[in-house]
């Protein structure tokens, strides 16, 4: 998994431990049964969400311990929300909920326009106060970056500050990272793996197939 140095700024790649590689070896394998695919994807998503949450600021807070002693700790700050790109992005919602129980989740539906072959926004439903929130943009695969760029434009048009957006995905291609950061250099991409390239059909190579299809029984 060679990573060109010029694309790694503002990319938070999960530490490539053997344990993480082991998880990926299961979801990359084309013979993996769906139940395992879902289970091990969820485990990776959980790691991505934890990494994303770690980017959020905290403020100092004094609390009282059971010994009635004051302890100077920290408290989580700022409201967050998730925004998933339908359909594959929805697979990451549960992982987010596992860490933030009552998190609000917005949805954006983007599909390829059959006439222009370009991604087109079909539907968006976002929390009213999204401009005050930190946003976790959820889409498992960053290939060309087309839909992620469009979704991010929607968020920014709704008043979300770019530095408050974190784009979480399981697998990214260098082309996608470059395209995305050309548009939004200040947005952090949090990913679990970066593959060498896109193939001639713009699929991540070696990749893990169509995430949405493999996760959602089609």
């Amino acid at each position: 998994m060679s990573t060109p140095t010029d694309i790694t700024s503002n990319v938070l790649l999960l530490e490539q431990t053997n344990q993480l590689k082991g998880l990926y070896s299961i979801i990359r394998n084309k013979n993996t049964h769906r139940s395992d695919f879902v289970f091990y994807s969820d485990r990776i998503i959980r790691l991505l969400v934890e990494r994303g949450l770690d980017q959020l600021p905290v403020k100092q807070a004094d609390i009282t311990t059971p010994l009635d002693v004051t302890y100077s700790g920290v408290e989580f700050l700022g409201k967050i929300c998730g925004v998933s790109i339908v359909r594959a992005g929805e697979s990451m919602e549960q992982g987010l909920r596992d860490c933030c129980r009552s998190v609000r989740i917005g949805k954006i539906l983007i599909q390829r326009d059959e006439e222009t072959a370009l991604p087109k926004l079909f539907y968006e439903k976002l929390p009213e106060d999204i401009e005050d929130r930190y946003v976790f943009l959820l889409d498992p695969m960053l290939a060309t970056g087309g839909s992620a760029i469009l979704a991010t434009e929607v968020l920014i048009s709704r008043g979300v500050k770019p530095e408050r957006i974190f784009f979480l995905n399981l697998l990214a291609a260098p082309e996608g990272i470059k395209a995305y950061h050309d548009k939004f250099p200040e947005i952090k991409i949090i990913t679990g793996g970066i593959d060498p390239k896109l193939d001639e059909k713009k699929r991540i190579d070696p990749g893990l197939g169509d995430f949405g299809d493999r996760y959602y029984c089609i």
Partner: protein, 579 residues
């Protein structure tokens, strides 16, 4: 036989214990169709009675006495230095504890010359008592009286009745007509008994055969005993074999008039065992009495102590018990002392702060992050709701479990992705098992199952004596796969305080054949003192820790620490809602 049990115990409480006898005790033995692991006090109380009698019913009172006995008595030694950080999982109330930093520092200064680097579990130095005497002399009564009075977990009663040699068919015919001699030392497999005791003494499982008096053969059952603090060997020839004697710390001979023995034996044989008078007398005259004179009585010379008049001799028995208790207190003090002295001398002892960098192969500390600090704050806050407490503990626990899995072994593998591309990567080498230290380790169960849904889980119950702080193992139930080669074990405990419980748990795993390097302890909060001891005692065990509590964080003025968990197990109490 039942009246014989009552007579030596005049205490009224005992009678009520007898009458409220539960039936669970008899199932203890009879359930062992397959190999059963019996641990003293796996019924929360203390003793494993292992004895098989002809009909079982004369044994019941003994079982029941042991089952229903209160676990602790007031006759315990007082607290000594170092015992304030009791690792009691019965969770002392947080406010009731008080820390005396000075006395602690002093105790460590005093101990600093004598540093111990290895842990010796109490069960490899069991206190072994042999009780011999003629049939009907009251050995069983005295043994049960001792067990009841010393009230120590992991007390094992080995009856030589279990070790009768199986009979050949023609011998069995003789036995059925009362013509076979059961009273010579040759009838008993003393070598096997020696092996059982030796196994226990060397930290292995001991196997006790079960003898059927109706078949005059060993049954299919084997009772497995592991780990004994005190072993009482009881039988007419208990002092016969020199090798067996050499293992004993105390040898007792019960010397009762043979007339009285006969009277007791007759009433037991006729009333409880359905024999007729003539048969019983015949056996007495032909075998029991002559062999008592010939083989049993001479072993009196090897005894340290002779109890005349058997179980009626209340004064002698109480002196005997006092002596045993004194020896057990010394043993317990040695154990605590050793735990105290397990100090990290290599890195400057307690005077130098523990630096995880000095233990790169052993210690993994979760990197500090905004989230981990925030979760820590929520868990320490007494105003956090239980809902939040459980949720955030589960979150950090999942992170810890993942962290622990990182250090496991992986092997290369080539897979094919849906694009039909070959991809070389790694996959886990083996399936680990988990062992939870009840109850604090159980807090990890949810996150463990979310991470490794099919993992086999074993349990250990280790509790500290409420007065001395000495850790005591009460129950072990471990997955069968633990004995497979190179099994990786995740040992779960939410908190390390004195380290005593974890040290003992690791020793149990080692006794079951697990290698040190295959054990990963997963712990959220670890006190520096306890952590040092574990690192010292086991130099290859990995420990994954969320937060280390350093002694320097203790406020020297108040002697209190803002971080409550230095001396108290509070995670399990809050997680399970018992505080």
């Amino acid at each position: 036989m039942q009246h014989q049990f009552r007579s030596p115990f005049p205490k009224s409480s005992l009678v009520s214990e007898l009458s409220s006898a539960s039936t669970s005790s008899s199932s203890l033995i009879s359930n062992s169709d397959v190999e059963t692991t019996l641990i003293a006090a796996n019924k929360t109380n203390a003793t494993v009675p292992i004895a098989q009698h002809e009909q079982g019913q004369d044994q019941d009172p003994l079982h029941n006495i042991q089952q229903n006995r209160p676990r602790r008595r007031s006759s315990r030694i007082g607290p000594k230095n170092g015992s304030y950080y009791s690792a009691s999982s019965s969770a002392p109330s947080l406010s009731a504890t008080s820390l005396h930093l000075d006395s602690h520092a002093a105790s460590h200064a005093a101990n600093s010359e004598a540093v111990i680097e290895r842990y010796t579990p109490p069960w490899t130095e069991p206190y072994i008592i042999g009780i011999a005497g003629p049939s009907g002399s009251g050995k069983t009564s005295i043994a049960s009286k001792i067990i009841q009075e010393i009230n120590t977990p992991w007390t094992v009663l080995l009856s030589l009745d279990n070790y009768y040699k199986p009979l050949l068919p023609e011998q069995r015919k003789l036995a059925l007509t009362g013509d076979w001699n059961f009273d010579t030392p040759d009838a008993v497999d003393l070598e096997l008994c020696y092996q059982t005791v030796l196994d226990l003494k060397e930290g292995r499982k001991g196997h006790v055969p079960v003898y059927s008096f109706t078949e005059h053969a060993r049954t299919q059952d084997i009772i497995t005993v592991y780990g004994a603090n005190v072993i009482v060997i009881e039988g007419i020839h208990a002092l016969h074999d020199e090798k067996l004697r050499s293992l004993m710390n105390l040898k007792v001979y019960v010397d009762t008039e043979l007339d009285i023995c006969l009277a007791r034996r007759l009433s037991r044989d006729i009333l409880s065992r359905g024999r007729d008078l003539a048969g019983a007398l015949n056996q007495w005259g032909r075998f029991v009495k002559p062999d008592a004179e010939r083989f049993v009585k001479p072993t009196m010379r090897s005894a340290d102590l002779i109890v005349p008049r058997g179980s009626e001799n209340v004064v002698a028995i109480s002196l005997l018990i006092k002596h045993i208790k004194k020896q057990l207190i010394k043993k317990s003090e040695r154990h605590l002392d050793m735990l105290d002295k397990l100090t990290d001398a290599v890195n400057g002892g307690m005077s130098v702060k523990l630096d995880p960098k000095n233990h790169p192969d052993q210690l993994v500390v979760l990197p500090e992050s905004n989230q981990s600090k925030g979760i820590y704050t929520i868990l320490l806050n007494k105003h956090s709701s239980r809902d939040d407490f459980i949720f955030y503990f589960d979150r950090i626990a999942t992170t810890l479990v993942n962290k622990a899995l990182e250090s496991h072994e992986f092997k290369p593998v080539t897979i094919e992705t849906p694009l039909n591309v070959q991809f070389r990567t790694v996959e886990p080498q083996d399936t680990p098992i988990a062992v939870s230290i009840i109850r604090s380790g159980d807090c990890f169960m949810h996150s463990l199952r979310k991470t490794l849904p099919e993992i086999a889980v074993g349990k250990l119950l280790i509790q500290s004596d409420s007065l001395t702080g000495e850790p005591q193992l009460h129950t072990e139930s471990l997955p069968l796969s633990i004995s497979a080669k190179n099994t990786k074990v995740l040992l779960l405990d939410a908190q390390i305080i004195s380290g005593a419980a974890v040290i003992m748990a690791i020793q149990v795993l080692l006794d079951h054949g697990v290698r040190e390097e295959d054990i990963s302890v997963i712990c959220y909060l670890a006190n520096e003192i306890g952590l040092r001891r574990v690192l010292m005692a086991f130099k290859k065990v990995k420990i994954v820790v969320g937060v280390i509590g350093f002694r320097e964080n203790i406020n020297p003025d108040s002697g209190e620490n803002a971080e409550v968990w230095f001396r108290s197990r509070f995670i399990d109490a809050r997680y399970f809602g018992t505080s």
